[in-house]
């Protein structure tokens, strides 16, 4: 009991003071937002350049084009010809990569501190001086098509795509980041160049430099590489209210070549702008299916023996999203009983008092994860970039443990009552094709 009280106290004490001291933040005249984070525990520097562009921005007919653009920015700039971009970083003993998501496209280089300026040179070239050669495009287009095919041959990827496409009718959350096949087939070099020119702009980006550096020296180098780039306002459409409220349960069954049934259940929840609700949703997801002591694990895996694994989590995005539950049923025939059990647990959450210890467990985990993330400068750079782009302020991350801690059992109950209803639910089962079972 003493341990419990101690932990409760610790949970309330999570603070971002140390991080605040390590951060220098400013904006260049061209609009590039810069975050410098000092951590001298290892002689390395992680440089991240992220852009506010992703699947969210893609209209019908152009789904996946942010990802295609990401590929092309590694190909050719004023100074780097195909194949030399990665080789330059490799030969500097660094790691680099890019990734595309719903809300952003990001790039990074991890390098030893004595040569990290190379990252600035590469990222400034990527931001302003990419070349879109039609022949090089044609080859990379084939590469991206092969990447798309990898997903088509993966039952689990198709299950998620079907689930999201059913849960939303209008919002871009329904689109896979890699794009729909017909769209992927129809990209052209011109369309990709247009996309690049529209979104790859200092005013639409954040540059995070994290590691063993002195802020003043870093600032000089950043000014030298990025200061002269021209910036322009970048317009983006806000789809926050686009998705209509669901008017009933949606269900589908997917039969593919797999030996494993799988079940996805999602409830439509509000977005991050409804902040109080958002943190309650995070808490609820963890209580339901975050770990081996979560309610659904104890019920489905241990108690009823209907599933081998179960997870639940609230979506961490700006716009209205899903609280999803992912179940690996022991067999296809267990699925109806699993659905009944999930419904019973949801009702129990909505109607019965929630013991404080369940909330304490979650906030202890959030606090520990907050500390664990600080182990690695590239993780910190990612966290700072993502929070700046998603929430407009990297401090959203340092505030997070406290905000989760403030959630009350009653807020969690209210959240379950409001949003975890049958009308707001989407259920998609992945089942073995008839000749597989």
């Amino acid at each position: 009991m003493r341990t419990l009280l101690l932990l409760l106290a610790l949970c309330l004490a999570a603070s971002g003071a140390g991080i605040e001291d390590a951060v220098t933040e400013y904006e260049l005249a061209n609009g590039l937002h810069v975050i410098i984070y000092v951590d001298s525990s290892a002689p390395v520097v992680s440089t991240h350049a992220w852009y506010r562009v992703g699947a969210y921005d893609e209209p019908r007919g152009l789904t996946g084009i942010s990802h295609m653009t990401e590929h092309m920015t590694f190909k050719h700039t004023d100074r780097y010809t195909p194949g030399t971009f990665h080789r330059t970083v490799d030969e500097a003993g660094g790691y680099n990569n890019g990734f595309t998501s719903t809300y952003y496209t990001g790039y990074y280089e991890d390098l030893a501190r004595d040569r990290w300026e190379l990252a600035l040179e590469l990222e400034a070239a990527r931001m302003a001086r990419c070349v879109f050669d039609p022949e090089e495009f044609a080859t990379e287009h084939q590469v991206v098509t092969e990447e798309w095919r990898l997903g088509r041959n993966n039952p689990s990827t198709r299950h998620w795509q079907a689930f999201e496409a059913l849960a939303y009718t209008a919002h871009p959350h329904r689109q896979p980041v890699i794009g729909w096949g017909d769209d992927v087939a129809r990209y052209t070099a011109d369309k990709v160049r247009d996309w690049y020119e529209r979104y790859y702009d200092p005013a639409n980006a954040v540059l995070v430099v994290a590691g063993d550096i002195r802020p003043e020296a870093a600032r000089k180098l950043i000014d030298r590489h990025f200061g002269r780039l021209k910036g322009k306002p970048v317009e983006r459409t806000d789809f926050y209210d686009l998705e209509p409220e669901p008017d009933g349960e949606r269900r589908a069954e997917l039969r593919l070549r797999t030996r494993n049934p799988s079940l996805l259940v999602g409830y439509r929840i509000p977005g991050f702008r409804d902040t109080a609700d958002y943190y309650a949703g995070e808490m609820l997801g963890a209580i339901l299916g975050g770990g081996r002591t979560s309610r659904l694990y104890r019920r489905l895996v241990i108690g009823d023996g209907l599933a081998t694994e179960v997870w639940a989590s609230a979506g961490v995005t700006l716009d209205p999203d899903l609280l999803y539950i992912s179940v690996r049923p022991r067999s296809e025939s267990d699925i109806p009983a699993i659905e009944v059990a999930i419904q019973e647990e949801v009702v129990r959450l909505a109607e019965e008092p929630i013991p404080a210890i369940e909330l304490t467990r979650v906030c202890n985990q959030v606090r520990a994860d907050y500390v664990f993330a600080q182990d690695r400068v590239s993780t910190m750079a990612r966290v700072l970039a993502a929070n700046h782009l998603l929430h407009g302020d990297w401090r959203a991350w340092t505030r997070y443990p406290d905000r989760v801690t403030r959630v009350t059992p009653e807020q969690v109950r209210q959240f379950a009552r409001n949003y975890l209803t049958r009308e707001r639910r989407t259920v998609v089962a992945l089942l073995p094709a008839k000749d597989e079972s």
Partner: protein
């Protein structure tokens, strides 16, 4: 306590060296501590030198199942109580098995290190082996093993292993074969644990916010009664050596790509030519971007998203394997074989070697700049007996490599003419264009 402390030998390393301490306890348990106080957290790994290669015949998956059971209750606490306490502490725990070893991992805030270690060693030394828990863990392992079959890439690799390592434990899936897993019993698990989880067959890696002497003291206290025992040597037959191209094709009309694995026997991690071979393979196909494979197949050919090759780094000789996923397997295999042949015949260029050296030496500090990287590197060094100063010596070892050493490695360790090839995809024998190949059913 004083007696134990007196027996601890702490090897102080030269100034500026990697702060790694290696200590041996009286029962043979080795404790490696990588001290790093930058974050108030500690990673602890119990590594056992017995992995899936120790699974008895027809009992594949056993090592993995046993490792899973070690976080699932002890003599004094049931499964649910262990999970509840770990999760309440905000700790992260996991377990895993590869062919050569098994691990039980813990990540915990410094303030909870003592309790975390009690829970870890409680399970490792005296697992609860509750029959109901065992049944659940087995069902989960079975589900994971089945799931592997959903990945054509994994199936291609498994088929390749079955050919190359016929009759050898590396030929079975490390996670177990579905039929084998179903038949595993609690007695099998108890037997495997009794035989393999002895202190002289294990080591502990501690990374993070704790002084070496304190880490050793804590581990020594919790393992004082753990008795050493003899471990029988593992002496399986070597891999089978293919003559010519021996190809297994699994036709899958539902797939839109073919999943190819191509290769032949490799060398063990401790083979004197391993480092030169690693750099040579990195130049040939270390990644889909910036290697010879990458240039030919992806960058110029547009044939695949990913193409690469590597030599297994295992205790016993493993495989050389090259993989690609593509809608045009004939062209991709042709280009990869051409590159293997060219490397085999000519070796890398001086320019390529210089680039590879820069990558390996330059990225080495990045590799251990995180606690996860430190765990991985220290585990690898200890497992293969590379010496506790290996982290310090590695950059110089790479820098000292000569071009001729890589050329010799390419000539000796690559064999473009004698390979196994497995292909899973919507393709026929004719379309693969492999004249003279022997087709295996």
């Amino acid at each position: 306590m004083n007696r134990v402390a007196a027996l601890i030998v702490i090897l102080a390393l030269a100034a500026g060296a990697v702060p790694l301490h290696r200590d041996s306890l009286p029962n043979g348990l080795v404790v490696l501590t990588y001290e790093d106080h930058s974050v108030p957290a500690v990673d602890v790994r119990l590594a056992c030198r017995s992995g899936a290669a120790r699974d008895p015949e027809n009992k594949s998956g056993l090592a993995g199942l046993v490792a899973d059971m070690l976080w699932r209750g002890s003599a004094t606490m049931d499964d649910d109580s262990v999970a509840a306490e770990l999760e309440f502490l905000g700790a992260r725990h996991s377990s895993g098995t590869d062919y050569d070893y098994s691990v039980v991992d813990l990540k915990v805030l410094t303030e909870h290190l003592g309790r975390g270690l009690e829970l870890l060693f409680g399970g490792v030394l005296s697992p609860g082996f509750d029959p109901l828990v065992f049944e659940r863990v087995r069902a989960s392992a079975l589900s994971s093993a089945r799931r592997t079959h959903d990945s054509p890439r994994a199936v291609s690799m498994m088929e390749f292993d079955r050919l190359l390592f016929a009759g050898h434990p590396y030929g079975r899936p490390a996670g177990g074969d579905t039929a084998d897993i179903q038949a595993l019993s609690l007695d099998d698990a108890r037997g495997f644990h009794r035989l393999n989880y002895v202190p002289n067959n294990c080591f502990v890696v501690v990374v993070g916010d704790v002084a070496p002497a304190e880490a050793v003291r804590l581990v020594a206290e919790l393992t004082a009664d753990w008795q050493p025992a003899e471990i029988p040597a593992l002496a399986p037959p070597g891999p089978t050596v293919p003559t010519g191209l021996r190809v297994r094709l699994v036709e899958r009309p539902d797939l839109t790509q073919s999943y190819v694995t191509l290769g032949h026997p490799g060398i063990s991690m401790t083979h004197p030519e391993m480092l030169a071979t690693r750099l040579m393979a990195y130049i040939l196909g270390g990644s889909a971007l910036g290697s010879r494979f990458g240039d030919a197949v992806r960058e110029q050919g547009g044939l695949a998203y990913d193409v690469r090759c590597w030599f297994d780094r295992r205790s016993l000789p493993g495989a050389f394997r090259a993989t690609v996923q593509t809608a045009d397997p004939a062209t991709a295999i042709g280009k990869m074989r051409e590159e293997i042949r060219r490397m085999h015949g000519e070796g890398p260029t001086a320019r390529e070697l210089a680039g590879a050296k820069q990558y390996y030496t330059g990225s080495f500090p990045l590799g251990y700049s995180s606690s996860g990287g430190k765990l991985r590197l220290v585990t690898e060094a200890e497992l293969h007996g590379l010496g506790s100063d290996w982290l310090d010596r590695f950059p110089a070892m790479v820098s000292n490599l000569e071009l001729d050493e890589l050329k010799q490695a390419a000539a000796r360790q690559l064999d473009p003419d004698n390979c196994y090839i497995t292909v899973i995809g919507n393709v026929t024998r004719q379309e693969l264009e492999l004249p003279g190949a022997t087709w295996l059913d």
